[in-house]
């Protein structure tokens, strides 16, 4: 049993590796293969459309409740995402099996894009547009499952005010806060608004110092 499993895992390593010429090995980040394997073997999956439609109905309800005050809807989505992020990080740590801290923010970005998004949404946004101080980057979403089946209301406002996938910003903020990073995230373009790309800007505000637990006595 164990042997057959090992050989199966071995195969998955072999097949993709045989084709391309030896890629430059990244010294520290060896996650390129496991992340696909994690998705294939360790993640309980459901039909994507169930998730997508559920998200759609959440946003639609918010628009209704706040009378199409899209600025407020963005805020609410961000808040929901934040709540999710606080809990999601544990799930992430358990599933990604990365037992160590990221040594810098660039590495964090890699993990967010290549492991985090992969585990939960099966996508890998591209990391780009770093600022020279390595504190700000963009995630460009080639694909955004949440945006499937979606068209924003044609009311001359939604396309200027609503960030449909804003929940993702909150998730990032909440999850990173739990690992001592205070970040700020917001979308700067969205295909749903008529832009050519969907892009989120993420900035590191500060590392949160470990606080000593209150003394017992």
């Amino acid at each position: 049993m164990a042997a057959s499993k090992a050989s199966r895992l071995g195969e998955e390593y072999e097949t993709p590796k045989a084709a391309p010429p030896p890629a430059p090995v990244r010294p520290r980040l060896t996650l390129d293969f496991p992340r696909d394997r994690i998705w294939k073997t360790r993640i309980e999956k459901v039909n994507a459309e169930l998730v997508v439609l559920t998200y759609g109905t959440i946003v639609a309800q918010l628009c209704k409740d706040f009378d199409s005050d899209y600025v407020e809807v963005n805020k609410q989505l961000d808040k929901m995402g934040y709540n999710i992020g606080l809990r999601l990080i544990e799930d992430y740590l358990a599933k990604s099996n990365t037992m160590r801290r990221c040594s810098n923010f660039r590495e964090t970005a890699e993990m967010v894009a290549k492991v985090g998004f992969k585990i939960f949404l099966n996508i890998t946004p591209t990391i780009t547009n770093w600022t020279s101080d390595s504190k700000q980057f963009s995630l460009v979403f080639d694909e955004n499952p949440f945006a499937d089946f979606v068209e924003l209301p044609d009311d001359n406002r939604a396309q200027d005010e609503l960030w449909y996938s804003n929940i993702l910003c909150g998730v990032l903020r909440g999850a990173l806060e739990m690992v001592q990073m205070q970040v700020e995230a917001h979308f700067i373009s969205d295909v749903l608004r008529g832009n050519d790309t969907t892009e989120m800007r993420v900035s590191l505000i500060r590392y949160i110092d470990d606080e000593l637990p209150p003394e017992d006595d």
Partner: protein, 218 residues
């Protein structure tokens, strides 16, 4: 005069309409079946669903109202799924369900299979002669409740009301107006096989049964 001017600007604005990306990434260019078999992680669903319930809970005063709200959020999904799943059927079975039984089968098989990856467990007609308009769809273990634990003081609550809303949407969309509610019927004792067992009670409007009877006679 001012009236005319106002009309004109409104017209111009309308003409502007929605903006679309120049690379053609719009819902009109996207193949309808692209995500037919796509998968996402179940945790993503669980997180979203729990936020949805928490949010709904803040805006209601009672359990019934909460279930009503979840039901309302499922309704539009059902309406759309009916068309989406029918259009994906092979041409010969692409017709809308025309009687109660085929509608319920469509829900039990197609809708369930699509959303939850398996069929619903059972389909029953009410055995009570007073309520011939009631049908039951039984799910032993609703996927949406997988990570939901209901506090004791709210034991009446079944978050699958969301799924009930989806079913109601399908029924309404197929012109079989109905009320659908979710009820927990799993035993609470230790060792119970299906503690989360849920019955979706489908109660059709009188006109549906009337029509059904007419068709039956013809």
């Amino acid at each position: 005069m001012s009236h005319l001017a106002a009309g004109k600007t409104a017209g111009a604005k309308e003409a502007a309409g929605l903006r679309y990306p120049s690379n053609g990434k719009t819902i009109y260019h996207r193949p309808l079946n692209r995500t037919k078999t796509a998968e996402l992680s179940q945790s993503s669903f669980a997180y979203l669903f729990s936020e949805m319930v928490t949010y709904a809970q803040r805006r209601v005063t009672g359990i019934q109202e909460l279930e009503k709200r979840l039901n309302l959020q499922g309704h539009p999904i059902g309406l759309k799924l009916l068309d989406l799943l029918l259009i994906r059927e092979p041409a010969r079975s692409q017709t809308r369900p025309l009687n109660i039984i085929s509608l319920l089968h469509f829900i039990k098989i197609n809708i369930w299979q699509h959303l939850f990856g398996r069929q619903a467990d059972r389909l029953e007609k009410s055995s009570n002669p007073d309520t011939p308009d009631e049908y039951m769809i039984v799910d032993n273990e609703p996927l949406v409740n997988a990570y939901v634990s209901v506090p004791r003081e709210m034991s009446q609550l079944n978050c699958a009301a969301f799924v009930a809303g989806i079913i109601e949407g399908v029924c309404d969309g197929a012109a079989f107006p109905a009320r659908v509610t979710a009820h927990s019927v799993g035993g609470k004792e230790e060792g119970e096989m299906w503690p989360g067992k849920t019955v979706f009670l489908v109660k059709f409007q009188p006109e549906v049964l009337e029509r059904e009877a007419l068709i039956g006679r013809a």
